[in-house]
């Protein structure tokens, strides 16, 4: 299968801390990849470099063969890579439907820079309704986003990433802050939507059950390096991984801001 995302020799340091050293990842179209590792291992740094929030000190990122290294998040989104956030980034004063309509509107009023693949089919209203259906938010379309429970906020946050029709979706700890009994329902919902739209997914996750259940491939991060890369069964058996990653699970990071 065709490689859609290809990161070569990514480096990132914050002063003394090495957040990423010689990261090499290539992801096939349609793959579902899990990124694991303790906090500060470099998973989110990797996500941030791919989506343009951080500019790598060295290395390059190719998306569908085009070099997107160091481009602005806006440009990268327009080309078809979108992300969700560990802390949901919503438009709190708007209704659920409006939150999605903003994205749809941006695509619809489009303009240069937007990849053909983002093009909506149907009217903006239809696009929004479809997304609400897919994420089971239809019943909440008029609720104010700021007042939703955390699980639903997560769901909406991911839906907002999907609504601009990316080809690659990066999820940052989709189940953090979601109660144990909600998390699978949430992930099922997301994965169903993702498959329906044939989107390639990379997601950062601490919860090994979730990882094992949904991914075909795992990247294990430790101190800014990738220490293992392969099918779940393999990676999760790896000695280093067991010691450095699974050995010490962190509590989900608490919400520090909204």
């Amino acid at each position: 299968m065709a490689v859609i995302l290809d990161a070569r020799g990514l480096e990132k340091r914050f002063g003394a801390v090495t957040a990423a050293s010689n990261i090499n990842v290539s992801v096939e179209q349609g793959a579902i990849v899990g990124l694991i590792g303790s906090n500060g291992a470099g998973k989110t740094t990797f996500l941030n470099m791919v989506t343009g929030y951080l500019r790598p000190d060295a290395g390059s990122i190719l998306f569908d063969g085009r070099d997107i290294t160091g481009q602005k998040p806006r440009r990268i989104t327009q080309q078809g890579i979108c992300r969700s956030f560990q802390i949901p980034q919503l438009y709190n004063s708007m209704s659920v439907a409006e939150n999605l309509m903003v994205g749809v509107g941006i695509v619809a009023s489009g303009g240069r820079g937007w990849a053909a693949s983002n093009a909506l089919d149907g009217t903006p209203e239809q696009a929004v309704s479809r997304m609400l259906e897919q994420f089971g938010l239809a019943g909440l379309r008029h609720r104010q986003a700021g007042l939703l429970p955390e699980g639903t906020r997560k769901l909406l946050d991911i839906a907002m990433a999907m609504v601009v029709r990316p080809r690659v979706l990066l999820l940052d700890e989709p189940t953090s802050g979601v109660s144990a009994d909600e998390k699978f329902a949430l992930m099922d919902m997301v994965m169903a939507a993702v498959r329906a739209m044939q989107v390639t997914v990379l997601f950062v996750e601490h919860d090994m059950e979730v990882v094992e259940r949904y991914v075909q491939r795992i990247l294990a991060f430790y101190e800014g390096r990738i220490i293992a890369d392969g099918p779940p069964a393999e990676v999760l058996r790896d000695v280093e991984v067991r010691r450095f990653v699974i050995g010490e699970q962190d509590p989900p990071a608490g919400d520090r801001h909204a």
């Binding site: 989506t51 602005k72 998040p73 806006r74 989104t77 327009q78 979108c82 992300r83 980034q89 919503l90 438009y91 709190n92 004063s93 708007m94 409006e98 309509m101 903003v102 994205g103 509107g105 941006i106 695509v107 619809a108 009023s109 820079g113 937007w114 983002n118 903006p124 104010q144 907002m160 990433a161 609504v163 601009v164």
Partner: protein
């Protein structure tokens, strides 16, 4: 859908006002003129507030618009109301397009303060320019509308009609813009800039555009006031004037383009009665009114309207 309702209501209101023009007393005409002139400026504040910005220096464009109109009529031989309004809009457009490049990067109090600095610099420049009358400013007399000379009562009604129609037009256009995809970004930016960028839109471009729009509205408002008052002076860009715009903006709420127009009518009425009934304590009256609104009507007067209509209150203040 609110699309048609707002527009229709606007046209209807404008029509009604135009019809009333000849029959209502002179002072009421003047009240409408002032309120709508200021109201147009506050429409501009509303665009900013929706974007989450508040300017303590919008007097800059109000004053610029007025002076452009004044110079158009007194120096460049175009004492035509439409030309004056166009001049006001143009001046504001040019200056804001440039300053916007800078200000669009600023937020919150820093945006407010940099705007303030610019408006006070203009104040300084005008005070220094003796041939523009320094702090005394100068008188302006619009002689015609689209080439048709008007005098006496025709002039009075002409000014009134031009102001009513311009204000309605501004409100209509603004309403259409705010309902467009681009317009809706304003509130998105106020709520979460990061997300807007990650949805593929440029926060900077949108803020810049909204800033220019609000400036042009302020410029038009200034020109209208120059036409109605017949006199302009640097006071128009002094900070209390800008503060007043912010106040009326908060008083009105940002729920609908009607809010600023109605809000400024209310404000003008309160202010004028305060001057008349308690000449020694009118500031106190205004201050207390302001506190009342902030405490009891956080969403501004418009939230009252929407509450009465039993709808979720979508009005919110800046920031």
């Amino acid at each position: 859908m609110s699309v048609h309702r707002t527009s229709v209501a606007l046209v209807a209101a404008a029509g009604a006002l135009l019809a009333l023009g000849p029959v209502i007393p002179n002072w009421a005409v003047s009240l409408v003129n002032v309120s709508l002139g200021i109201g147009v400026v506050v429409l501009g504040m509303m665009v900013l507030m929706r974007t989450g910005l508040v300017s303590f220096g919008h007097g800059l464009y109000y004053c610029l618009g007025a002076y452009a109109a004044g110079l158009a009529s007194n120096r460049f031989g175009a004492p035509d109301m439409l030309a004056m309004v166009a001049g006001g809009a143009l001046a504001a457009l040019l200056v804001s397009a440039v300053l916007g490049l800078l200000l669009a990067k600023y937020r919150e109090i820093f945006f407010a303060m940099l705007s303030l600095a610019f408006s006070m610099i203009l104040y300084g420049l005008l005070v220094k320019s003796a041939d523009l009358g320094s702090t005394d400013g100068f008188n302006v007399h619009a002689k015609s509308i689209a080439g048709f000379a008007v005098e006496g009562d025709a002039h009075r009604l002409g000014v009134y009609s031009v102001i009513v129609i311009t204000a309605a037009l501004c409100a209509l256009l603004l309403d259409a813009y705010l309902r467009s995809h681009r317009g809706r970004l304003a509130e998105a930016i106020r709520d979460n800039e990061l997300r807007v960028e990650y949805m593929g839109a440029s926060v900077f471009a949108t803020v810049h555009l909204n800033y220019v729009i609000s400036a042009v509205l302020a410029g038009v408002g200034g020109a209208l006031m120059a036409i109605h008052i017949g006199h302009i002076d640097p006071e128009m860009t002094y900070w209390p004037q800008s503060g007043e715009f912010v106040f009326i903006g908060i008083l009105s709420g940002t729920g609908s383009v009607f809010a600023p127009l109605l809000g400024s009518v209310v404000f003008e009425t309160v202010r004028s009665y305060a001057y008349e009934k308690s000449p020694d304590t009118w500031q106190m009256v205004l201050g207390v009114t302001m506190l009342m609104v902030i405490v009891f009507l956080p969403g501004g007067l418009w939230s009252l309207a929407s509450r009465l209509r039993g709808r979720p209150d979508s009005a919110r203040t800046g920031g």
